[in-house]
């Protein structure tokens, strides 16, 4: 479980988020939706422990946090396999051989078998993002944070990555915060969405999606996307 209670954060004396409160149950996915610059990434960085809030309380029993960034942030001089095993090095219980096995299994699951010794520069944009997703799942995180990982990708690639992500979530359910500015992405992946508006960013609305992810057909996705769009434009 992760609880944000009345969290505030300023940068350079400018209040970015003001009194953000939410609660995520275990293995639930919360999408944070809102326009650019509203403080979505700030919430993620606070949840990751990368920055501290100025006020408010955060309750979390999370030990391991995985992060999927908007850009892949792979180490350019490490191969796809080494990029995944890199984040496992902090786990002293894992022997190098075990790290390799985990990395190889993850690449196979991502459909990247045969590309383990390729460097990021030799992979396509979609492949790099897959490795970045695999890196986050490899550590078996208690909390996964995603910061608009599908931004800038073409529709086909975005759809295939989303499908892969849904498969990974079925394989390994995780508590997750998913930041996006695309309402459709939120409907496809999240269990609940909070909508941020205003300046500083505040929660304007909260919408839950009770339908199981695999049963969300086009009609369901469209209707709920429109509902979110309506809320966003208020």
């Amino acid at each position: 479980m992760l609880i944000f209670e009345n969290v505030k954060k300023s940068f350079n004396n400018r209040l970015i988020i003001d009194g953000i409160s939410f609660k995520i149950e275990d293995n639930h996915i919360l999408a944070i939706l809102g326009p650019s610059g509203i403080g979505k990434t700030t919430i993620l960085r606070i949840a990751a422990g990368a920055i501290m809030p100025d006020a408010g309380k955060i309750e979390s029993d999370r030990q391991k946090v995985g992060f999927i960034f908007q850009e892949h942030r792979l180490i350019p001089w490490r191969t796809a396999l080494a990029n995944i095993t890199f984040v496992l090095k902090s786990d002293k219980r894992l022997a190098p051989k075990e790290r390799m096995q985990i990395g190889m299994a993850m690449l196979e699951r991502l459909g990247l078998k045969g590309f383990e010794h390729y460097y990021p520069a030799q992979l396509s944009g979609g492949m790099r993002q897959r490795v970045s997703i695999g890196r986050a799942f490899a550590i078996k995180p208690d909390l996964l944070l995603m910061d608009e990982p599908f931004t800038g990708l073409d529709l086909e690639l975005k759809a295939s990555l989303q499908e892969m992500l849904i498969e990974l979530l079925e394989w390994r359910p995780i508590t997750m915060i998913y930041v996006t500015h695309d309402p459709r992405d939120a409907v496809l992946i999240a269990d609940e969405t909070i909508i941020l508006t205003g300046n500083p960013g505040k929660i304007a609305d909260r919408i839950e999606f009770h339908c199981p992810r695999r049963e969300r057909d086009q009609k369901y996705v469209h209707e709920n996307t429109m509902k979110l769009v309506e809320q966003l434009s208020k």
Binding site: G49, F69, W77, R78, S90, Y119, R135
Partner: protein
Amino acid sequence: MTGRMNRLLKGERKESLWFASGLFILAGIWQAMSLFFSPLVLPSPMETLESLLNLLTSGDSRRDFYVSAYRVLTALIAVIVVGTGIGVVSGFKPRLESLLKPVQDILIAIPPVALIMLVIFLFGSGSPQTIMVAGALVFPLIYGNTVAAVRTVDRDLLEMTGVFNVSGKVRLRDIYLPSVIFSSLPNILLAAGLMVRIVVMAEVIVGVTVGIGDALIIARVNLAAREIFAWMLVMVAVVLIIEGVLLYTIKKYLLRWQVQG
């Protein structure tokens, strides 16, 4: 990937052609000028090549070459290890950087000859002194670049390591050191070429008994301009070989991750 490599190789072939043309033009100018001067002052390219062959077959010359090469390599390895090591620490500790700034400034500002004189006064003449002077003169180049490289490590990568709770040791080994090494490569190439020139100059001034510098002094005393020119060719070849070998190693092994698919 193969296509790109081929394009790169084709590009290198073109560059080599222009390089060879430049050499040919230079040899032509040299030949033309040698017609107006005495061979005692400016020997022709052919006369120089004859001297070069003599040098290559002479045991003494080979010994001079090996001794100088040993000094160059020793000073280069020492300055890379020391300059990078202290540079990495200074990159993290601005106070150490400030503490070392006067030394860095002095080494950059003072003429090499003055430093050589100082070393002779303090420590006398000899091979270690030559290596010390050469290392000290190249140190600011390697050290300064390392400090800058540590400070400019990709912030996004560092944030990623922070979020994934990667230990400081792993961060240093897998992020900082490779970043420093990759951004230092052009300066290491530069340092290698610079080192050959500085070592020979130091040998001449320090007055060692073996080495290319010593051979140049003997040639000057004997008014053997042909030999001086031959040694110059040797030094040019050494710099080109060092740069070539280093460049090949860098491209083939160290920077292979930059080749796009």
